[in-house]
C-alpha cells in the first residue's frame, strides 16, 4: 500500500513532512547540483530582512558536544534580491518555499511579508521571532508574549500566505507563546530555534565566537526540543513543525509522535547533505511496519505513563 506522507499546514501543502531548516540550507540552490531539492517537503530559506546584511565577523561557529554554536548574524541578500535572484530558479525546480522572515521592527516584518506575498512561488512565511544572534530584532519579539501577539497579528493582516511563527526555546513556558500565535491567527508554529549559549577559549579568555554568544543546535538539544513540541501540542490546535537535533528517521518519528505535523532538519544537513532520502525512506518503512496509512495519523499519538 502506498503511504501518504503529505501534510497540510493551513493552506500550505507539503508532499512530505521533511523540511530543510532555515539557515542550514542556504537559499536551497546551493544543494541543487547534488540533490533534487524539489523532492523535499519544503525548503525554509535563510532568514531574510528587507535589506542585505553582512552578518557577524568569523569565527561564526564552534563545535560543542553533539552540537554546535552559531552566530552567523543573518548574513543575507535581503528580500528583494531573494525574489529576483533566487525564486525563479527555485520555482523552476519545483521547490516548496517557506521563507524565513526577519525584522527589527513590526513594520519591517510586515513589509518583507508583503513583498513575499506579491512574489510568485512563495508558499509560506516562517516568522523568525527567535534568532538569538542579533540584538536589534527577532528574539525580543519571541520572549514577551504581548510582543509575539503583536507581531504575529500585524503580519497576519499583511499577508494571505500561510503564516508560521518560529518560536524560541529560551523561555519558561513555550506553550504560552504557541497560544499567542494561535490567537493572533497563525496557521502553525515551528520550534525550536537555537538555545542561547556560549563557549569560551580558556587560553585567550575570550568567547570562541566573535559575536560572544551563539545559538546551540544539533543532537544535543533534541530531548529538550521534543519536550517543547509535546508541550505545544497539548496547548494549541494549529499544526506544529518540530525541529532540534534531528539526524535520522527515528528522530523524525519521535517529533511526530510528540505532536509535530512536520519537521525541519538543520545541523544534520551539514553532517550529511544526503540525509533527506534516508529520512523519507526510513519514515515510509516505519509506516509500513506499523501499518500507518497517513503520516498525519502518527502526529500527537504519544501514550502517557506506563
Amino acid at each position: 500500500m502506498a503511504r501518504d506522507l503529505s501534510v497540510q499546514i493551513g493552506s500550505l501543502s507539503l508532499k512530505n513532512p521533511i523540511i530543510a531548516a532555515s539557515g542550514c540550507f542556504g537559499y536551497g540552490l546551493e544543494y541543487a547540483g547534488s540533490l533534487d531539492i524539489g523532492a523535499l517537503g519544503g525548503v525554509a530559506s535563510k532568514g531574510l530582512f528587507l535589506n542585505a546584511r553582512e552578518g557577524h565577523a568569523p569565527p561564526r561557529i564552534v563545535e560543542t558536544p553533539s552540537g554546535m554554536l552559531n552566530a552567523i548574524g543573518l548574513q543575507g541578500i535581503g528580500v528583494h534580491r531573494y525574489i529576483s535572484e533566487k525564486l525563479p530558479e527555485l520555482r523552476r525546480l519545483g521547490v516548496t518555499n517557506i521563507v524565513n522572515v526577519c525584522g527589527t521592527t513590526i513594520d519591517e516584518y510586515c513589509e518583507v511579508s508583503r513583498a513575499l506575498t506579491d512574489a510568485e512561488g512563495v508558499h509560506a512565511i516562517e516568522l523568525n521571532i527567535s534568532c538569538p544572534n542579533i540584538k536589534e530584532g527577532g528574539i525580543q519579539f519571541g520572549c514577551i508574549q504581548e510582543s509575539t501577539y503583536a507581531v504575529v497579528s500585524a503580519v497576519r493582516k499583511a499577508t494571505t500566505l500561510p503564516l508560521i511563527p518560529k518560536l524560541t526555546p529560551n523561555v519558561t513556558d513555550v506553550a504560552s507563546f504557541a497560544r499567542q500565535c494561535e490567537d493572533a491567527g497563525a496557521d502553525g508554529v515551528s520550534l525550536v530555534n537555537t538555545f542561547l549559549a556560549m563557549a569560551i577559549d580558556i587560553e585567550t579568555r575570550r568567547p570562541k565566537l566573535t559575536n560572544g554568544m551563539g545559538g546551540l543546535s544539533g543532537p544535543a538539544i533534541r530531548p529538550i526540543a521534543v519536550r517543547m513540541v509535546y508541550e505545544c501540542a497539548q496547548a494549541v490546535k494549529i499544526p506544529i513543525i518540530g525541529m532540534g537535533g534531528i539526524t535520522c528517521a527515528e528522530d523524525v518519528i519521535e517529533f511526530i509522535i510528540a505532536g509535530a505535523a512536520a519537521v525541519q532538519v538543520g545541523t544534520a544537513n551539514f553532517v550529511d547533505p544526503f540525509v533527506w532520502n534516508k529520512l523519507i525512506d526510513g519514515l515510509t518503512s516505519y509506516m509500513e511496519r506499523h501499518d500507518i496509512a497517513r503520516i498525519t495519523d502518527l502526529t500527537n499519538t504519544m501514550t502517557k505513563g506506563k
Partner: protein, 271 residues
C-alpha cells in the same frame, strides 16, 4: 556535483608523530576531483565530534591501468578530529564527501611557483600532476620547522618541479622562512611570467600575496577557514573580499577555497 562515500581506508601511513597520509577507496569521487578541491570527512560514527572536517584532496589514487580508485589526504593532528584520523586503521570506513570547492584555475604563465608551508603542501600534488602533463615549468617553495617536516618533496621532483626548501632550524635547505628565497627568485626572474599558488599558515600566505602583488604576479591562495558544511549551507566559512565598493563576506567553501589573492582582505582573516 558532490557525492558522499562511506569509504574504506586502504592504508594509513604515519609520516611522523603528527602527520599521516590516509588513502580512501573512492573511485567515483576520485573521478570527479580536480586539483585544489577538498573533501569533508566524518571522523567519528557518533554525534561527537559532530561536524565533518575539511581536507584537501592530496593525491588521486589510480590503479594499474590509470583509472582513479580513490583519494588520499595528508593529515596533521591539531585536535579531536585530526587525532581520530591519525589513529584510523585499514579496513575502517569513514564518510567522505566531495569533491568540493573551486579548483586551482588553469593558468598559461611561463612558470608556476607553488609556495607551501607545513601541511599546506596538501593541495599541490594534484596541481603539480596536472601541470606536469602540460610540461609546464614548476617550482615548489616548501618551508617547515625542520627537515622532518618536509614530506613528499621528492614526489614533486619526480613530477619535474624545481625544489626550494627552507627550514626554520636550518636542518634542511635554507635556514629561515620560505618567503626569503621566494622574494629573491621573484626579483631575479626577469620577464618570466610567473603564477604563484600558495597554501599554509595565514601569515605566510599573506606574505606571499604581498610579494605577488609587488611583483605583479597572478597569485592564488587556498584558504583554510573553519567549515561547518563545505557546501554553502551554513555561512560559517566566510572571508572578507573587496571586489565591490564595500568589503563583503563570501563563503570560502563554494567561492573558494582557492581565491585570487588580490581579493582577500587579510586584516579580516582569522587563522
Amino acid at each position: 556535483m558532490a557525492i558522499d562515500v562511506l569509504a574504506e581506508i586502504l592504508t594509513n601511513r604515519a609520516l611522523s608523530a603528527d602527520y599521516n597520509v590516509v588513502e580512501f577507496a573512492a573511485p567515483d569521487l576520485a573521478r570527479l576531483a580536480e586539483p585544489g578541491q577538498f573533501v569533508m570527512v566524518k571522523t567519528s560514527l557518533g554525534n561527537d565530534p559532530l561536524l565533518r572536517r575539511p581536507f584537501s584532496i592530496f593525491e588521486i589514487l589510480r590503479d594499474a591501468t590509470g583509472q582513479p580508485r580513490g583519494v588520499s589526504i595528508l593529515n596533521k593532528r591539531v585536535g579531536v578530529g585530526t587525532n581520530l584520523i591519525y589513529s584510523t586503521k585499514p579496513g575502517d570506513r569513514l564518510n567522505v564527501l566531495g569533491p568540493l570547492g573551486q579548483p586551482w584555475p588553469r593558468q598559461t604563465a611561463d612558470e608556476h611557483w607553488m609556495v607551501a608551508g607545513g601541511v599546506g603542501l596538501a593541495p599541490f600534488v594534484t596541481l603539480a600532476e596536472t601541470l606536469a602533463k602540460t610540461n609546464a615549468r614548476m617550482r615548489l617553495f616548501y618551508g617547515g620547522r625542520s627537515a622532518s617536516d618536509l614530506y613528499y618533496a621528492s614526489l614533486f621532483e619526480t613530477l619535474g618541479a624545481t625544489l626550494v626548501l627552507t627550514t626554520e632550524d636550518g636542518s634542511q635547505g635554507e635556514k629561515g622562512r620560505v618567503t626569503a628565497p621566494l622574494e629573491r627568485a621573484l626579483s631575479a626572474r626577469g620577464t618570466t611570467n610567473v603564477t604563484l599558488y600558495t597554501c599554509g599558515p595565514t601569515p605566510m600566505m599573506r606574505a606571499v600575496a604581498t610579494l605577488g602583488a609587488a611583483h605583479h604576479c597572478q597569485t592564488f591562495v587556498s584558504l583554510e577557514q573553519v567549515m561547518g558544511c563545505g557546501m554553502g549551507g551554513c555561512y560559517s566559512c566566510v572571508v572578507q573580499v573587496n571586489d565591490h565598493a564595500t568589503p563583503h563576506f563570501v563563503r570560502s567553501c563554494i567561492e573558494g577555497p582557492v581565491f585570487d589573492a588580490s581579493r582577500i582582505i587579510w586584516d579580516a582573516l582569522v587563522h
